[in-house]
Amino acid sequence: MSTTTLTDGRAAEQALPAQYTLDHLDHLESEAVHIFREVAGEFERPVILFSGGKDSVVMLHLALKAFAPAPLPFSLLHVDTGHNFPEVLAYRDAIVERLGVRLVVAKVQDYIDDGRLRERPDGTRNPLQTVPLLDAIEEHRFDAVFGGGRRDEEKARAKERVFSLRDAFGAWDPRRQRPELWDLYNGKHAPGEHVRVFPLSNWTELDVWRYIEREGILLPEIYYAHEREVFARDGMWLTAGEWGGPRAGEQSQSRLVRYRTVGDMSCTGAVDSDAADVASVIREVGASRLTERGATRADDRLSEAAMEDRKRQGYF
């Protein structure tokens, strides 16, 4: 990478004074805090989607900072696939208790038990989250739903707004999205509609990890290297468990792995890694040749437009 400077001298003359230069993480933090406060000021019943995954944890951390020293003015919502990593559930419950916040859990399992949803042939439950999510939004009359989606994650997400208007079916219509200019977010919506809000829109995976390091944020331990019983499927290491693996012919083995994303156990893969702390993870992410979704999410490999299709149906 070349860092040659220009010779015309204008750069030096006009550069910001050092004491007024913001680090890019400070920029991103200030932007996210601004977004949380806009929603608190404009909406009646906002909720934060909280899975215990790193993006939702960073989102919660930013929301707490936005309103300090006052308590968090939002509740949390977890759409539980039933295929959870036990470490992540334990983490979720510990955080909720420590902060004294309200947690609503919408369970995919309840829908399968009473027949409203049917298990998919591949056993993956991530796509099944949409209906319980929309029902929870309707039941609790949530009008703004914070999600940890980032535009760097995926092609369809690159076109997502910070304030994403959803109709009564939760559907995302890319042609109906409002242009977003300056930092003027238009949250107007009709009764029955709601707005998905993405405060981490402009963050990259590496930004999230650098921020976790800078702030000393605690994460579920499965984000760091540990020994685990895994088996190979579709080129990923999946954790053995009640959800449906390993099948006959799939050998399980103990390996040193970590998770780059945390989702439904059936479609979230671990990667071989000896990164046992944040600094090692940052080195590993910086050197990685695979995106986190490409490396670890079977649901996004289904088709070129998998995410676009799910978003249109009301997914995060």
Partner: protein, 448 residues
């Protein structure tokens, strides 16, 4: 309380130790087929921002389409609707970083009918990257891109003269385009133009220096992006803080705490500064600037500057709420009920005289009446023309608005954040137009 461990919070950096890894927001603009997607793909690829699985996908699709080499333009194709029609229909955001800077790139399509997307992308950009095809030179689309860039107050323009390989790296052709472009840019008030001859397809002068343009000694495109100064020094601008939210914990630890949360739109603030709260006009003094540290405890700052998000505590018990503006007492701007501005129409619904709309500026929303559509800007001729039928989608024109309440607003040319506004449809909430205020009309306003 937060989610951090009990390790001590990182020390607040003193000024000398403050890191220099900053953020540059840029917007791209190009006409159909001038290779913009390829250029953006090249920028991502050559800065190693494209990972192996993304590249695999691009190579697979390129092979399926019978192409010999990977088509980097596919990296920035987003929606299936676009792939099927081979067009770009919306602003997409891309991210890359170097040792010096992180970049947020608003990738906007070049079609005539999608001017609204360029307006959107340019609204947050500090630099516009405009493409011109070396074979075609400055075309009508280029004029439109420059008009929008100038209108939105983007101070820096990088001109990429692309497809130089198709004109055999002809220096004369390059220079002729640059001269015409710079003349046009000057008419729109853009002073900083840096032109680079490139071939996005071959990667010449994007990140790596071209072997073929032996006559060119200027920077590559990325070298220019790395060096261009960004931002306006906050101490040259007056303090503006639109109040977003009133922080009132009412907890046993903080029974009487009351602070005003907001992001500095411009300027610098220190404890002891005298401020005025608009529109009420009450004057008071800043007694504290608070921001949560990593451990969640509130830290008191000696100084805050744009664009930081903070909480201000004030000396007097004034009635301050969301929608108010805290401004420097010695440079408060103006309050007005009559507003002149230039708008870009973003909606299918045209903007007509006598329309009743909502006006959003900062955190304040008030009812407004379109008093007059003054004129419409014809991009091709650069003439102001009458607009008796109103302003349709993608039109740019001047309007006069009458407001139901006093609004504090600045001239967009001086203060971008507090001089910009939206017009919103009251019935369905859609964003009708983006506006840039001209110096408020003193005769109609109530001076402070």
């Amino acid at each position: 309380m937060t989610i951090t461990d009990n390790a001590p919070a990182p020390a607040v950096l003193d000024d000398a130790a403050r890191p220099r890894h900053d953020l540059l927001r840029l917007a791209t603009a190009g006409s159909v087929d001038d290779g913009k997607s390829t250029l953006v793909g090249r920028l991502l690829y050559d800065t190693k921002s494209v990972l192996a699985d993304q590249l695999d996908a691009v190579e697979r699709v390129s092979r399926d389409r019978g192409l010999e080499a990977a088509d980097l333009a596919l990296l920035t194709d987003g929606l299936r609707a676009e792939r099927e029609q081979g067009i770009t229909i919306d602003v997409a955001y891309r991210y890359f970083s170097t040792a010096t800077r992180s970049y947020v790139l608003a990738d906007t399509p070049g079609h005539v009918q999608y001017t609204r997307n360029m307006v959107t992308g340019a609204s947050t950009a500090e630099l516009a990257l405009i493409l011109v095809d070396a074979r075609h030179g400055v075309v009508e689309q280029t004029r439109r891109h420059l008009a929008v860039t100038g209108l939105l107050g983007v101070r820096h323009v990088a001109l990429a003269v692309n497809k130089m390989d198709l004109v055999d790296w002809d220096e004369t052709a390059f220079k002729a385009i640059v001269v015409e472009f710079e003349e046009l840019a000057a008419r729109f008030g853009i002073e900083d133009v840096v032109a680079v001859p490139v071939s996005a397809l071959l990667g010449d002068n994007i990140v790596d220096r071209s072997e073929r343009a032996t006559w060119y000694s200027g920077p590559t495109l990325l070298e220019h992006l790395e060096a261009v100064p960004v931002g306006t020094s906050p101490d040259t601008q007056a303090l503006r803080l639109p109040v977003q939210y009133v922080v009132r914990p009412r907890t046993p630890e903080h029974p009487d705490y009351r602070g005003y949360a907001g992001r500095l739109a411009s300027g610098v603030v220190r404890p002891g500064d005298e401020v005025v709260v608009l529109p009420s006009g009450g004057r008071t003094t800043v007694v504290g600037i608070d921001r949560a540290g990593a451990d969640g405890d509130v830290q008191q700052l000696d100084v805050a500057f744009a664009p930081q998000s903070v909480v201000l505590r004030l000396a007097d018990d004034l009635d301050v709420s969301r929608g108010d503006l805290i401004a420097a007492a010695d440079a408060p701007g103006l309050l007005t009920r009559s507003l002149n501005g230039t708008v870009a129409v973003l909606s299918d619904r045209p903007l007509r005289q006598r329309d009743r709309v909502l006006l959003r500026v900062g955190t304040r929303t008030v009812r407004a009446l379109v008093d007059d559509i003054v004129d419409q800007l014809d991009i091709a001729s650069m003439q102001q023309q009458p607009a008796p039928e109103g302003l349709g989608l993608n039109a740019i024109g001047r309007v006069r608005l009458r407001l139901a309440e006093d609004v504090a607003i600045d001239d967009y040319r001086e203060l971008r954040r507090t001089g910009s506004f939206l017009l919103i449809d009251e019935s369905d909430g859609s964003t009708l137009a983006a506006g840039m205020a001209e110096a408020p009309d003193r005769s109609a306003g109530e001076g402070i």
